[in-house]
Amino acid sequence: MSTELPLIGDYSAPTNELSGARVGVVTFPGTLDDRDAARAVRASGAEAVSLWHADTDLQDVDAVVIPGGFSYGDYLRAGAISRFAPMMAKIADAANSDAKLPVLGICNGFQILTESHLLPGSMIKNDHLKFICRDQLLRVENNQTAWTNGFEAGQEITIVLKNQDGQYVADEKTLDELEAENRIAFSYVGWNPNGSRRSIAGVSNKAGNVVGLMPHPEHAIEVGFGPDARGTDGLTFFTSVLTHLVGGKK
């Protein structure tokens, strides 16, 4: 383990329940934030495992992060080509299996998860057509998922938003279902930065193991580099999944 970070916890002792927790980070051609995501995984105390899109071996990971970027240059539709990568088929099977592999999709990763139909809805161009990059205030609407259990319900957090195709859309029936089933994980607070329906920033699947959101928690894990130079709200995503893996104990 490198000493690059102020770790949340050192879980390397073999007696620790989290000893050996492995979180995979998938890299596609055009992925940008895989290294930051791996760094966030290490900051949370787990081991980051690189997964290559063309491989089919999940390498016994306990959870997977699909990071942001512009896989395949966003050609066709954001996430549309990556969705058919061999690794994505493995991840989809594991996420839908009884084991319910926890999967977090960030930005382009969220787009890949909607294209894969692991999450409902889709993203289209921001309503104002501009690329946007800002510190974004979010409300945690559902803290019962594998990736949000460390937050308080209704907690407001600030992480980075940066995208071109961030407008979340789905038909009214789907949106009503998401609300009724408490599957809106995050919503934008204040200004809706991209025209997303019902200000949705992130959603989960029914089981709560698959979560996707447009903003980037992996860019808000370390003092000195996050929003406002101090924000570390993103780290809770990565510690939440470890809490989930040991059975919800905090």
Partner: protein, 83 residues
């Protein structure tokens, strides 16, 4: 070489921000007769040889699975164009 042309449009109920921007630019160039613009995608799938029913069926399937996302888009046209 014959081509199969596939046209994909955003569903009518989905706002098209790009089309809206184009609609805003038209009057600035003096084109004032157009109420709205919606932008779509056209794909051309080239086929070496005759386009059989089976190949056309494959094109339709590709249009529904990869070329369009049924959550936000409709395949509005699949047709064979001979050169």
């Amino acid at each position: 070489m014959p081509r199969i042309v596939v046209d994909v449009m955003l569903k009518p109920e989905i706002l098209d921000p790009q089309g809206k921007a184009i609609a805003g630019a038209l009057p600035r160039l003096g084109f004032t007769s157009f109420e709205a613009v919606r932008q779509g995608k056209r794909f051309e799938l080239s086929v070496d040889g005759e386009v059989t029913e089976e190949i056309l069926a494959q094109a339709r399937e590709a249009a529904e699975t990869l070329l369009s996302n049924p959550v936000i888009e409709d395949v509005v046209n699949v047709e064979v164009v001979e050169d």
